[in-house]
């Protein structure tokens, strides 16, 4: 294994541990955050199935965003759906044999990258061009967009401009997953840049606003059933107090 490969191996092990542990910690925190009151955004579903459907449409279609702002929705949705296809396409580097459905969507992921990058460009344009939004944008907002755009563009360059050795890349990645370090990482500049940016994103993910990805599932205005009248809402921590008082 080359020196560069060792460096990237260590980087990716570290990034993976930080991402998994950080996300796990955050999700646990979200899960344990008390929801003392029923506060679903009205109109809200009255059954649990309804809630699952509501969260699903929110996650897949960004319904609330659509209702509030069409432009942000357009760019945001384009970006996220593009990203989804692109990520699905990347599963081919981590599975052997490659799953059939990944092979099937693989070509579409190629072009989804354009939607993804266009969406990002739109979102970033909004932060730069709309004065009100520019005023409230923090450096970290720009950093996230820059990282994602950098990842998207470097990735697309490898598909559409200058090809890299993806067989070597897959052997390296499968090696990392199996703790077999006999395959070096191909040293294509574009690939190294792409992977470096990805590692950085993985590392800062658990401490960034990108946490809205797991966070959306824990939003009480979204995931609560509108049954306050039928069933008394009692948060677990309040249940203890309730029991004490009853004694």
């Amino acid at each position: 294994m080359s020196f560069l490969s060792i460096l990237y191996a260590i980087l990716f092990y570290a990034a993976t541990i930080l991402l998994v542990a950080g996300l796990g910690r955050k999700i646990a925190q979200y899960a344990r955050t008390p929801a003392p009151l029923k506060i679903p955004t009205m109109p809200a579903p009255t059954t649990q199935t309804g809630v699952v459907l509501r969260v699903a449409t929110e996650v897949v279609f960004f319904r609330q965003l659509f209702k509030s702002n069409k432009w942000i929705w357009l760019f945001g949705w384009m970006f996220h759906m593009g990203l989804f296809l692109v990520l699905a396409r990347h599963l081919r580097y981590f599975t052997e044999p490659v799953w059939a459905w990944v092979v099937l969507i693989q070509p579409f992921g190629k072009y989804a990258a354009f939607a993804m990058v266009a969406g990002l460009a739109g979102l970033w344009g909004r932060r730069i061009l709309v004065e009100r939004i520019r005023y409230i944008s923090a450096p970290s907002d720009h950093l996230m967009l820059a990282l994602l755009l950098g990842i998207g563009l470097s990735g697309m360059s490898m598909t559409f401009v200058s090809h890299v050795d993806i067989v070597g890349l897959k052997a390296f990645l499968l090696g990392l997953m199996r703790f077999d370090w006999s395959h070096s990482l191909p040293s294509d500049a574009l690939l190294l840049i792409h992977l470096l940016l990805v590692a950085i994103l993985m590392i800062i993910f658990p401490i960034s606003k990108l946490l809205h990805a797991p966070g959306v599932f824990f939003s009480p205005t979204l995931n609560q059933v509108d049954n306050a009248r039928e069933k008394r809402h009692l948060a677990p921590w309040a249940a203890g107090l309730d029991a004490d008082r009853a004694e």
Binding site: R25, R92, V98, V167, A171, R178, F179
Partner: protein
């Protein structure tokens, strides 16, 4: 307090499970495409392929496409980057000594293409084995 402790134990167990399942695969080794040896050297006097392997992995399709357009539209019929030559040189035979078609994962092209999940449509029209597999 008790609850957070319980969580930490669970979380630690989960992480350990992930690591263990990973290390269980250590003994499986890393799967890589197995390529058949070329039958002959395409460029006489040179040991390598028409280009160094390292380069071929990256640009083979660009070269093939260039050659394809030249041959199709201008009748240029040089052999160096001709698909036909790739196939006849890197002909793949199975254990029984028969030439295999691109349907098999042993096939020279398919070995890497299946590995990386890249579908090929060359073989919708072209023969994937020299002399119709005879």
């Amino acid at each position: 307090m008790r609850k957070s402790q319980r969580f930490n134990i669970l979380f630690g167990l989960a992480m350990a499970a992930v690591l263990l399942s990973g290390s269980a695969a250590v003994f499986a080794g890393v799967p890589v495409p197995l390529l058949p040896e070329p039958v002959k050297s395409a460029v006489e006097g040179e040991e390598s392929c028409v280009l160094p392997e390292d380069e071929m992995r990256r640009v083979h399709m660009d070269r093939l496409k260039h050659q394809r357009d030249d041959t199709m539209h201008e009748g240029v019929r040089t052999s160096r980057f001709s698909l036909k030559e790739c196939i006849s040189c890197h002909v793949t035979k199975n254990d029984a000594g028969e030439k295999v078609s691109v349907k098999s994962r042993e096939h020279f092209c398919n070995a890497c293409h299946a590995y990386t999940g890249v579908t090929l449509d060359c073989w919708d029209c072209h023969a994937s084995q020299p002399d119709g597999g005879q």
